[in-house]
Symmetry: C2
Amino acid sequence: MGSYYSADIHGPFETHDLGDFQLENGAKIRNLSIAYATFGTLNADRSNAVLFPSWYSGTTKILEQAYVGAGRALDPAKYFIILVNQIGNGLSSSPSNTPPPFGAGRFPQVSIGDDVRAQYRLITEKFGIERLALVLGGSMGAQETWEWAVRFPDAVARAAPIAGLARETAHNQLFLDTIIEAITSDPAFEEGWYGEGAVHRGLRRHARLFAASGFTQNLFNRAGWSELGFTTTDDFVTGFVENHFLPQDPNNLLLLARKWRAGDISKHTKGDLAAAFKRIKAITHVIAIDEDVFFPLEDIAAAQALAPGSALRRVSSQWGHLALFGVDAGYTAAVDGFLNELLATRT
Amino acid sequence: MGSYYSADIHGPFETHDLGDFQLENGAKIRNLSIAYATFGTLNADRSNAVLFPSWYSGTTKILEQAYVGAGRALDPAKYFIILVNQIGNGLSSSPSNTPPPFGAGRFPQVSIGDDVRAQYRLITEKFGIERLALVLGGSMGAQETWEWAVRFPDAVARAAPIAGLARETAHNQLFLDTIIEAITSDPAFEEGWYGEGAVHRGLRRHARLFAASGFTQNLFNRAGWSELGFTTTDDFVTGFVENHFLPQDPNNLLLLARKWRAGDISKHTKGDLAAAFKRIKAITHVIAIDEDVFFPLEDIAAAQALAPGSALRRVSSQWGHLALFGVDAGYTAAVDGFLNELLATRT
């Protein structure tokens, strides 16, 4: 697995070692390493830092490619942008890069809260940052953004959760059950102790389930994938979606999917979701993709309505949830506009 | 398999033997038997017959329960109602009831057109009916309804395709690939030569994929299934969806899914879909379920717009596509209203 989860493919990154790290479920990660990449320069009063956690099955590389650059909302000339890899994504400590006996099928389950606590230590210990100008993230990154705003309200000036929820819905959990089972049901999975490349059937099944709900029906029915040079449904699903998932480590994906499934900010308030949202002090702009099947507009809007003083921003894309990848110029322009507007607010 | 596909469970039915039946793909079914159930009495001029084919994984029993009865649009006091089982559904000739060597994994693939040709022989040979007052069907039954109206335009006075398409979309085919693979990937499937009950993992996986898209997100997120007495997402998916699919024969389901996937009335007109619709002479009321994920309103409306002189009728249900099962009183009342309106038209 080493060849895929490398700087050759995912770009140069730094690591911050947190030593032994106690997880919320009582387990412990030995020598937790958080991988991150930064762009721009932290200013003297440390007030221009942006934190952007990765999402399901992605690393900081896709965040850089799709969201960071000169002239973009996240412009390294203005901001110190910290892209951070979730625990379990293959660059930070993960089942795939942890030696026996605690790697592979024995790597402990991690929560959204564990990630955010580790990221908090990164920004305070490594950079001395007390307050982030912006925390943003898409999908599972949005879950982490919500968690940041609720758990560390004084450390988040602005928040932009994109296409993700603060508490998972029952339907989203049912979907996640199907993609988890797609991998674990492969006889080659062997409870997580498989040979390299052995779980290809499970990974391809997982990829196709992801494709069937991750985009819109229109993308398929009107062959919208032809914009990227694909020729048939199968060519697109193989060349885009299977290509993304096949080189990844099955245990890593399962850890992330289970982390996603359990996301719930109301853990902070004994299940009272409204009370959890009330803790937020950040100026929060909640971004929804109208056609998103994983995180429907209706659910995003319901969350936004509970977040004090927040605003809802909507973007439409035939790419659905996976517009996050930056494949739709209209999405990219709209989200940059939303982020520019948010970053211009006074806190 | 015999115990599930029986009159004990699916009610009394008759069979019509068509002898050796040539399929569109060149293969042949020996002694094709079409199972059907009738309600009401054929009038003297044979003008009150209604034909209603079954849908995916269903038999004529659910059609009777959900759509036929005194005071309903399909009232046996007024109409001679012929409910007919699709080839491959376990009551008509199917992989599960065909003896070796042509049963199980060797049963030939059947098309929507094959079904409709066999049904045409049933109504003409058995009942001497030349023109049906109404052909209707839901989902795959809607595919057969469209096929009837295009293939035998003079034999269909009125048509009501409900929640189904005349030509499958690319996205629907991608979804069907996932539910087909859910069964065939079970190592116990053995290319269709499995022991009774052996493919339970594949069937349960298939059931869960069906559940995740067959209903609406709201049904899960607002626990709409509690109306039926279920207690949790898992309780509902197990008790309602797995309960439906687990006793069924995997080869039967695969035959039906592949038939569904290939549905395309434009086969009659060398791929020209608009030309195929122009053949229709029936008064056609096209019924869509607004929340349907399998057959989105947008796609149903696009088909309806191509059918000359047709009308679109819409119904909303939190049950989504599977409102077809008759679990939603609002759906049932609305559809009865649409059918009463259609049956009252003069032809």
